[in-house]
């Protein structure tokens, strides 16, 4: 009897669920990033931010009156798994894919989406990439269905080397990067750009170490020290960055660090533990405490909702804001309709409202970039990182127009 009641209730609830009008008009965003395993901490933060953005948009009446729905797909930061998940997302009616962690994953998705759209002329899937920055994605392998919202490695390195150019005290540079496509892209860019802009700088080391396999970085630190370097450039992220910087702190290595991802999850904690105030610099698309009220308001609201991990990636906010703007301008959530609006779009970037634009030729966003150093904050700055009490202090700013680099992209447009 009990069983019968239970199954009846179950059956009724199933009928009840299907009786709700199908949410066909929702703007479905498929977020394909690591939600389990080692990189899950970073992937989860991205999902939190998308949920926050969707809820904010929905509270204000949605986009064109349509609700925004974010669905997370766990790709375990693996290219093969990612393609399975993208296919699954498409099957569930998603036409907007957002991903950002790992250029190997990004390249795979870019190729898959282009192929899918070619084979299914009515489908129109768009891939919005907020963080995979291997330059090949907007150069040789560029695609009409892909947009890059983070500055690619070449753009960042051009800006970083312009900053280094003005600092005469830098004489010997050591490069240490993870041994995969992204690390090599950064190292190659650094070598060629430094040679061009500051031929007097000596590159005393160009090291690659396996990705996420090292527990003890002190041998590498010993090597850096023996090389006599005064500056280290690294694109390490995650624990490869944290362990590197902690090992440096322990052995008293006296150099300045120029990084791509010191601000990513775990980085600030490690710098504070290594007690390296003012020694670690990062280049990225925005930091807190730039005194821009809309960004600070968002940061406060977000921090109140996600107290455990109050980390903001401005690139995600840029991505979705431009997406929503394009959908509103097109009056349609079909990528085929709103992609022309995204191309060439002008936009005030999230962190400080600086001018940005989406280049039509290769779908690369150009935006103001900031160089900042990590250390104690002045009294009027409200936002610290990871509850360390320290935060990012701006030391340089490069306008979008000064970050433009040429592209080799020959884009194939549909039709």
């Amino acid at each position: 009897m009990k069983k019968l009641v239970a199954s009846t209730v179950l059956a009724l609830s199933v009928i009840g669920a299907s009786a709700v009008p199908a949410a066909a008009d929702n703007i479905k965003i498929g977020y394909v990033d690591p939600l389990s395993g080692g990189a899950a901490s970073i992937g989860q933060i991205g999902l939190n931010q998308l949920n926050f953005i969707a809820d904010t948009a929905n509270k204000n009446g949605g986009i064109n009156g349509e609700q925004v729905e974010v669905i997370g797909y766990d790709n375990q930061i693996n290219p093969q798994t990612s393609l399975v998940q993208v296919q699954k997302a498409i099957d569930e009616g998603v036409r907007i894919i957002i991903q950002g962690n790992g250029s190997s994953v990004g390249s795979a998705i870019e190729g898959f989406v282009a192929k899918y759209n070619r084979r299914n002329p009515d489908a129109h899937i768009v891939y919005l990439n907020y963080g995979a920055i291997d330059p090949v994605m907007t150069n040789d392998n560029c695609s009409y269905w892909h947009f890059g919202f983070d500055a690619n490695t070449n753009v960042k390195m051009a800006a970083l080397t312009n900053f280094i150019k003005q600092r005469a005290e830098i004489k010997k540079v050591y490069l240490i990067d993870q041994d995969y496509s992204f690390g090599h892209a950064v190292a190659d860019a650094a070598v060629s750009m430094l040679k061009e802009k500051r031929p007097d700088i000596e590159i005393v080391g160009n090291e690659f170490h396996p990705l996420v396999k090292i527990t003890d970085f002190s041998p590498y630190i010993a090597k850096i020290k023996a090389s006599g370097a005064d500056t280290v450039i690294t694109s390490n992220w995650g624990q490869d960055f944290s362990l590197l910087i902690k090992a440096a702190g322990q052995s008293g290595l006296d150099v300045n660090w120029y990084t791509y991802y010191a601000g990513a999850a775990g980085g600030p904690t490690a710098i504070k533990q290594a007690d390296m105030s003012g020694r670690v610099f990062q280049i990225n698309e925005g930091i807190s405490n730039l005194g821009y009220e809309p960004a600070e308001k968002t940061a406060r609201e977000y921090g109140a909702r996600y107290k455990d991990a109050p980390v903001l990636f401005p690139r995600i906010f840029n991505t979705t804001a431009m997406l929503f703007k394009a959908i509103e301008a097109a009056g349609s959530q079909d990528p085929a309709d709103f992609i022309p609006k995204l191309e060439g779009m002008k936009y005030a970037s999230f962190s400080a409202g600086g001018d940005s634009f989406m280049r039509k030729d290769d779908h690369q966003l150009f935006q103001p970039l900031y160089i900042s150093s990590f250390g104690p904050l002045a009294n009027d700055k409200a936002f610290d990182e990871e509850h360390t009490g320290w935060g990012w202090n701006k030391v340089g700013e490069i306008a979008a127009k000064d970050t433009v680099v040429p592209t080799t992209c020959e884009m194939k447009r549909p039709g």
Binding site: Y220, K223, Q239, Q273
Partner: protein, 316 residues
């Protein structure tokens, strides 16, 4: 040259001893119970997180004492109500059980402490540099880790080889019925041994936590290298694990220090055509680039040429 050699040696020893600290508990459990505990690294992680939590409220030294005790308690419960029942069904069941346990522990840690790294610091009383060689400072905390490691090694050796407790425990492994007849509670002995083993893992966690990154994925990152240490040293051999830890620490550190490739030794590649196209990478890769892979290469070689490990007693 001498400078980097000298510093590499110190770094290698320090890293090797840290490895031993982590692997000792695994060896104890294997040599005395015959159980290969795949969840060992998870207990190490629990130790780090309990150490962090207790340090917040009562200081580091309290953490160093209580965290291992708590973890030992958890370990004994796991042994009493889980492993003991699974044990009857043989080794495969044990392996699967401890393998599953790693996921359970990871999920629990993520629920309680989240996925981001926690700010677990070196205690102020040990936060100074012990000595300076060639302008490289060595933190006192690493010396402390080295000391703890050596003390644990000697203490374990003494207990197993020289005391009555060690005698009974060893006898319980090979002749459990006989030991039971003599009036000892074999089940309780195994439970205590498991507790001690995971407590050692927790000690390693409390000490390694501040040096490395205390995060919910730290177990998964460390797990494989521990098994390399134990297998290379000889399954169940404490002395072997000690030697293997040092060996792996030194090999890895020296390898990083030198940028030598086959091309440097034998000149540019003698191969031409398609073969050269595929093998050039191999010819030009430096020892430094493959350093972290070397321990696994060592593992494969040992398994082929000396399956019982450096100091193992049998081929089990």
């Amino acid at each position: 040259m001498f400078e980097i050699l000298f510093i590499s040696t110190i770094n290698g020893i320090l890293y090797g001893m840290l490895l031993f600290l982590m692997a000792s508990g695994l060896t104890v459990i294997f040599s005395m119970m015959g159980v290969l505990n795949l969840a060992h690294a998870s207990f190490y992680m629990l130790g780090a997180f309990f150490g962090f939590e207790i340090t917040q409220h009562m200081g580091f030294w309290a953490g160093l004492v209580f965290a291992p005790l708590i973890v030992a308690g958890i370990g004994m419960v796991v042994e009493r109500y889980g492993l003991r029942h699974v044990h009857r069904h043989g080794h495969v069941a044990e392996l699967l059980f401890t393998f599953g346990l790693t996921f359970v522990i990871q999920e629990v840690v993520e629920m309680v402490w989240g996925k981001l790294p926690v700010d677990y610091r070196v205690p102020a009383s040990l936060d100074f540099s012990a000595f300076t060689v060639f302008a490289t400072t060595y933190p006192a905390f690493k010396m402390f880790a080295l000391l703890v490691s050596v003390v644990i090694f000697l203490a374990l050796l003494l207990v197993i080889r020289r005391t009555r407790i060690g005698l009974i425990v060893q006898a319980a492994l090979s002749h459990p019925d006989m030991v039971g007849m003599l009036g000892h509670n074999v089940d309780r002995i195994f439970m205590l041994v498991f507790g001690v083993g995971v407590a050692l893992a927790a000690v390693a966690g409390v000490i390694a936590g501040p040096v490395l990154v205390t995060q919910s994925n730290m177990a998964g990152l460390l797990g494989p290298i521990l098994f390399v240490v134990v297998v290379v040293g000889g399954l169940g051999s404490l002395g072997g694990a000690f030697v293997a830890s040092l060996l792996i620490g030194l090999v890895q550190t020296y390898a990083v220090a030198f940028n030598i490739s086959l091309a440097d030794v034998f000149g540019s590649s003698p191969l031409t055509g398609n073969v050269a196209f595929y093998l050039d990478d191999l010819w030009n890769v430096t020892v430094a680039q493959i350093a972290p892979i070397l321990p696994y290469l060592l593992l494969v070689l040992i398994l082929i040429f000396r399956p019982r490990g450096l100091m193992g007693t049998n081929n089990r």
